[in-house]
Amino acid sequence: MRILAYFKVTPDYEALRESEWSAAAGRVPSSGGGEGTSRGPSADGGAGPGRGEHAGPADGVDTRYVRRILDCFDESALEIALRLSDALVGRGRAAGLGALSIGAPGAEPHLKTLLALGFERAARVHTEAALDFAPAATAALIAAYAGRIDRSDLLVLGARSSPGGGGTVPFRVAEQLGWPCLTQVTEVEPLADGRLRVTLMGDDGLQRLTARTPCVLAVGNAVVSHLRVPTLTDRLAVRDRQPDVLEPADLGVDLADVLRREGPSLAALEGIDRHREGVLIAGDTPRAKAQALFDARLKSLLEEL
C-alpha cells in the first residue's frame, strides 16, 4: 500500500487577538478568483524579514506575525498515516509512506520532521499564492501529485482546513482521481488482506466499514490528534535529505488557469457580533446563585420546555 498524507501549515489562528479579527471584518479581499486572503511570510515566498515585504495587509486577516503550525486535522491525519504504516510494516506489508504539502517554504521544517519520522517521501508543491479559499486548486494539485507523480493508492488528509473549513477538498480530489472517499474518519486499521477497517462519524453517528484502496480518507475529530516527535538522532540520520520541491507545472497543472476558474470566490469578510448583556447573578454561595438563577429565569423557562 502506497500511502500519501497531505498536510497544510497554517498560522496559529488561536494566537491572533480579537482585535485582529475585528480589523479583518469588513475588509474586502482584493482579488477574487480564489486568491487566499491570509497573508503571511508563507505568502511572500520566504521565511524571515528582508525576504518578504512587511507592509500592512490591504485585505484579509493579518497573520504575518503569528507562528505557523500544522493544521489540526492534518496533524491527526499524519499521525494516523504513521500508525497505519507501522501496523502494515509489522505485518510485512511494508507501506511506502509519503507526505505532501502545498505552499511557500513554511512547510519545509515540517517535511524534514516527517522524513526524520520515517516518511520515505516528502514533497512540497511550491505556490506563491495562499490557497486558503481555493479548494479546487488545492485539490487539483493534490490529485495531480498523488496520481501522476507519487502513484499513491491511499490518500490521508484532514477533513477540513482551519481557514476555509468547507471540507470539500477530499471530495474534489476523489473526483479527480476517480476514487471513493470517506470523511470524518476517526480510526483506521489494516486488515490481513490489505483492506482497511475505517471508523467514522457520519451524518447518523459512528460507523465502521471496510475500504479497499485506492481511496481517500479524510480525518475528522480523531482521538489521535498529535504527531509524534523525532529525536535528534532521527533528525541526524536524514540530515542530508531534502524534501522534493515541485512547481505546479511539474505536475501538469496550470495553476493560474485553475485559479482563474476557481470558485466560489470570497467577496467579503464579516465580523460576528457575539455580545450579550452578561447580567450578573449574585449570591454568597453556589447554592444561593443557583437559586437566584432558578427563581429569576429557569423556573418559568423549564416549565415551558
Binding site: 457520519g202 447518523d204 466560489p264 467577496a267 460576528i272 453556589p286 432558578f294
Partner: protein, 358 residues
C-alpha cells in the same frame, strides 16, 4: 432562477437500522432512530428555501423565492416505506423520484450531473453534513459548476449567487460568490432545526428506478456503532455544556449527571472531548454540533469563537465561570461567577426538588 432541491433519503448501505444507543447525556430524539436524521435534514431544505434564500431579481421585491413553483425536488430513496415521508417534506410541488439500492455518492452525482446538463437548474440545494457536502462537491466537479458547503444564507442575483458561511473556525463569516452554474449548495447543518415548511400538494413528475445501476458498494461490512450520534444536541431545547473548567473527568461526569437530572442534553467543548473526558459525539462548535436551544448553560468554557459558533443561536445563554474576564461573560445573557461543578449540582438539586413538589 430555477432550483432543484436534492433530498437524500438513502441510508449508507447499513440495512440494519440499529437504533442509535442512548448513552451518557443522550436524552430525547433518538427515538426515531437514524432515519430521524434523514427527515430532519430533508426538512431543513424547505426551511432554507423559506428563510435562508433571498432573491433580489429585478421587479420582485427582495424576499423569498416562490419555493413551490420555481423549482422541483429530487428524492433519492431506497426504501418504499420511507419514500412517502420524504415526499411529504418536499418544499416544491414538482417531485422527481429516484430509487437506488443504497447511498452511492458517485452514482448519485452522475445522475445529478446528467440532469444538470440540460441547464435548466441554476441551483442545486443539498442537505447539510458530510453526505450533502459530498454530493454538492461531486456534482460541481462533474458539471463545471461551483460548490459551497455549510451555507448559512444565500441571495440570488441575475449572474451570481451570494452565500454566507462561517470561516476561520468561527472567527468570521465569509461572503462567497458563485458564478459558474450550476450552483451546488449544501446548507449549514444547523438548518436542520429551523422547522419545516408548510405542507405542499405534490405532483410526482417522474419516477425512475436506478437499483442495480450503481455497481458494487466500494465500502463493505458496514456496521453502525453502539454510540449515540450528536443529533440530540442539534435538536435540543435545553443544553448544558461542560468546558475544561470542569477540571477533570470526574467534574465532567458530575456536570453530565446534573444535566441529566435537569432533563438537559449534554455537550462539551473540544478540549473536554480531546482529553477523552466525554465522548467525541458530545462536541459542540465548528467541529461538532451547532445547537439552537431555548436555554443553554455553559459551565467552565471560555467562549472561544470556534465553540461559541455552536451555541450562538441559543435564546438564553447562562455562563458559569470563575473568571469574570472570560470572553463568555460578555457573550452570555446571565452570568454566575462560581465553580462550574458546584453550581450545576446545586441547580440540579433545585430543579429536582421543584419536580418533587409538583
Amino acid at each position: 432562477m430555477r432550483f432543484t432541491v436534492v433530498m437524500d433519503g438513502t441510508s449508507a448501505g447499513a440495512a440494519d437500522g440499529t437504533p442509535a444507543g442512548a448513552g451518557e447525556g443522550t436524552a430525547d430524539r433518538t427515538a426515531d432512530g437514524p432515519s430521524g436524521g434523514i427527515h430532519r435534514r430533508a426538512a431543513a431544505l424547505g426551511a432554507f428555501l423559506r428563510d435562508g434564500l433571498k432573491s433580489d431579481s429585478a421587479g420582485a421585491s427582495r424576499g423569498a423565492i416562490d419555493a413551490q413553483l420555481a423549482g422541483d425536488t429530487l428524492v433519492f430513496y431506497s426504501d418504499e416505506r420511507a419514500k412517502d415521508r420524504l415526499v411529504a417534506l418536499a418544499p416544491t410541488r414538482d417531485v422527481r423520484l429516484v430509487r437506488i439500492e443504497a447511498r452511492r455518492p458517485e452514482r448519485m452525482a452522475a445522475l445529478l450531473s446528467a440532469r444538470a446538463e440540460g441547464g435548466q437548474t441554476d441551483l442545486f440545494l443539498f442537505a447539510g453534513g458530510p453526505a450533502g457536502t459530498e454530493l454538492a462537491t461531486r456534482l460541481a466537479c462533474r458539471s463545471g459548476g461551483q460548490a459551497l458547503s455549510e451555507v448559512l444564507s444565500a441571495e440570488t442575483a441575475p449572474d451570481r449567487l451570494s452565500c454566507r458561511r462561517s470561516i476561520y473556525s468561527g472567527h468570521l463569516t465569509g461572503r462567497f460568490e458563485l458564478s459558474a452554474r450550476p450552483w451546488c449548495v449544501a446548507v449549514d447543518p444547523s438548518w436542520a432545526d429551523a422547522g419545516g415548511s408548510e405542507t405542499v400538494a405534490h405532483t410526482i413528475v417522474s419516477a425512475i428506478d436506478e437499483t442495480g445501476g450503481g455497481g458494487p458498494d466500494p465500502f463493505e461490512d458496514r456496521e453502525r456503532m453502539e454510540a449515540p450520534s450528536s443529533e440530540d444536541l442539534a435538536g435540543s431545547s435545553f443544553v448544558v455544556v461542560a468546558g475544561s473548567g470542569a477540571g477533570d473527568r470526574q467534574g465532567v461526569r458530575r456536570i453530565a449527571a446534573a444535566a441529566r437530572e435537569m432533563g438537559a442534553t449534554f455537550g462539551v467543548t473540544r478540549p473536554v472531548a480531546m482529553n477523552a473526558w466525554a465522548p467525541m459525539d458530545r462536541l459542540i462548535g465548528v467541529s461538532g454540533a451547532r445547537t439552537a436551544p431555548a436555554l443553554c448553560i455553559v459551565a467552565g468554557a471560555s467562549g472561544a469563537p470556534a465553540f461559541f459558533w455552536g451555541i450562538e443561536r441559543a435564546s438564553l445563554i447562562v455562563a458559569v465561570n470563575t473568571d469574570e474576564h472570560a470572553p463568555i461573560v460578555g457573550e452570555a445573557d446571565l452570568v454566575l461567577l462560581d465553580d462550574a461543578v458546584a453550581v450545576l449540582e446545586e441547580l440540579a438539586a433545585i430543579v429536582a426538588a421543584e419536580r418533587e413538589k409538583r
